[in-house]
Symmetry: C2
Subunit: 388 residues, 2 copies
């Protein structure tokens, strides 16, 4: 399987620090790019963002290029006050010491339960273990170590000639669009300055991670980071690079939606004919966010009336209800403002597939957007009724 | 039990029209106030609002006072195109004929499945039955007839001297704030012109029905209507009338939240110390809307970190995370930006009650708001996986 280690000079691995009290598993990971030439990130806008989010965002704003990323699962280090901030500094300091680099070259990301202090003895011992041989290439380990309630590792790899964009991500619950919406780590060999990288990452995130929702809850810890080794020129290939980056992000975003807590299927909503891109995005998100659409899809119930409710949810979107077409799993169910005749039994069978696509044409403009979500099942309730 | 029929000249009853194919139940209701002096309504802002919503809102805008309201359950008459509009006209016409009043004195409300045409033969026969003796007082029948997946009738009655505000409502799923969010019918004897009544109703709705959410889904059919017999002067008692009206609406709103689909408890979120009322409202709604808060409350899990996530969800709200206090079921769990020490087991026991109150002080201003929601259980999934 292709991974970020297919890019020269990129190292990654995982370790078991014992952050989860009840089970033994990989729970820390690092990415190490000794000759990193550019880096950037996008971060959650939740007001109770974790201490590591503040720290890493400030790092990217300072213009410093980070060469290492330290990630832990099992504890979000969010809503932890001044002690939480100190713990980030301690983590960064120890990692920098072990790697022989400046503390300002170390980014930190955390995910897990909110409101508990990091177990710093375990974190520091975990770091010693993790960074004992930093030039190790174990991408599968790292992709596994960052997971929480995910059931699958999430990898994406795009390549055009020698130009590579590769990444991995985590996310299953508390997934809702706002800037970044999970943890994602991407590495490229494109030769591009950090500032441009930031712009391109932001644009790719808008069309991928920010169009995913599992449960409308925006995490305190989301971030997507990108690092570049800068060995491949992208002169005349800027567009191509942007496309590789967007494809990588969309692939990871789809994997997150498909692995949503308790999900049995991916729901993809495509909205066209909108008066603006932002209106297309709002309608597409309303469709995948609706608990009533999600439960109907879970039951493979062709109850398309709920899709109409969701399309109409935001009153300020500019379209005429009488002009709308809706297709559910390739079956036209609503045409020019009126119900169509169709075989419910056949459509119900089609809805039993792993991916259900909903197409909405507002017939009011030239803009479109795609969103990704999942069905809502009893397993979501089971998982979240007693998380601790 | 007190009801709208405690106001002189107010009649209401229910009938079984057979709209539900699989069960025999009351499914149509009327309210008849022959000497109605003022009337008003607020209506869903969903773009796919039902034909009856358009019709009844136009009626209120025309300045006409309606004397009768015809309500059916089992079919929303939404997303039904021109045929749906015709069916409203036919309903109004027949009701007006039976009552010997003008069609412009008849309001219509519907609730039920979206995207199916009304069974007009049944509706018209139901009307004949319902209006055979229009001066009947069976408030319990009417309150029952308008229910869909509700498990309880919802009545509220407020009185100060001879001044009465009384109403009933329905709503269990597809409940989310935007203007009105369910069906609610209120009658008063206050002597007040329709225009002022509209303003006061809007204001009461903002603080009651618009602060309720079961599942964030905004219905196509929501409306709250008020009718007044105008026999009681409110000179010098305007404030008192407003309070009675708000109390009635809040009572009905709380009953809707407590009877949310699959709900086992009411969640009440009170936000104070906000910089504006609208910011207090947004934060209060974010707390009760969060599926992760709802599932934690379902499991009586004192996982207050999720409340922090929900408080922080909307990035533009003006407050400092380091100044926030949060109290869950009277236990202070977060004080001035830091976790407190408390007995988890004791708090978990407290969370098993029928009502859980969450108090958030943003400590940034003088505004406050209260919202009402419910927990999220597997029964919600059961109910909504196969609604049809």
């Amino acid at each position: 399987l292709k991974s970020i280690c297919d890019i020269d000079g990129v190292y990654t691995q995982g370790a078991s620090a014992g952050i989860y009290e009840k089970k033994s598993r990989l729970d820390m990971a690092c990415i190490y790019v000794p000759d990193c030439r550019a880096s950037a990130g996008v971060f959650t806008r939740n007001k109770f963002r974790a201490a590591c989010v503040d720290y890493t965002e400030n790092l990217t704003k300072s213009g410093k290029v980070f060469k290492a990323v330290i990630i832990n699962a099992g504890n979000a280090n969010a809503a932890t006050g001044p002690e939480g901030k100190d713990n980030v500094i301690k983590t960064v300091q120890r990692a920098a010491d072990k790697l022989g680099i400046s503390p300002q070259e170390v980014a930190v990301a955390s995910t897990g339960v909110i409101g508990k202090q990091l177990p710093m003895d375990k974190i520091l011992k975990g770091l010693d273990q993790l960074l004992a041989e930093p030039k190790t290439q174990e991408p599968q380990q790292a992709a596994e170590a960052i997971l929480t309630l995910d059931t699958k590792v999430k990898l994406a790899h795009e390549q055009a000639g020698k130009l590579i964009v590769s990444g991995f991500a985590k996310g299953a619950g508390m997934i809702a669009p706002n800037m970044a919406t999970m943890l994602g780590f991407i590495v490229t060999n494109a030769d591009i300055p950090s500032k441009s990288l930031r712009v391109k990452l932001q644009s790719a995130v808008e069309k991928s991670f920010n169009m995913v929702s599992v449960d409308t809850d925006t995490s305190t810890n989301d971030m997507v980071l990108i690092l570049s080794t800068g060995t491949e020129s992208i002169e005349g290939k800027e567009q191509e690079f942007s496309q590789l980056l967007e494809k990588t992000c969309v692939s990871l975003a789809r994997q997150i939606a498909a692995d949503g807590e308790g999900a049995s299927k991916l729901i993809e909503a495509h909205v066209s004919g909108a008066r603006s891109e932002s209106e297309a995005r709002i309608v597409a998100k309303n469709v995948i966010d609706s608990p009533l659409v999600k439960t109907a899809m879970h039951g493979s119930d062709p109850n398309w009336g709920r899709i109409m409710m969701a399309i109409g949810k935001s009153p300020d979107i500019r379209f005429l209800p009488s002009g709308v077409d809706v297709t559910l799993a390739k079956q036209l169910v609503f045409k020019q403002g009126e119900p169509t005749e169709f075989n419910r039994q056949e459509l119900s069978e089609k809805l039993k597939s792993e991916t259900v696509r909903i197409e909405v044409n507002l017939n009011s403009g030239a803009f479109e957007a795609t969103s990704w979500g999942c069905d809502l099942s009893k397993t979501y309730i089971d998982i979240n009724t007693e998380y601790n």
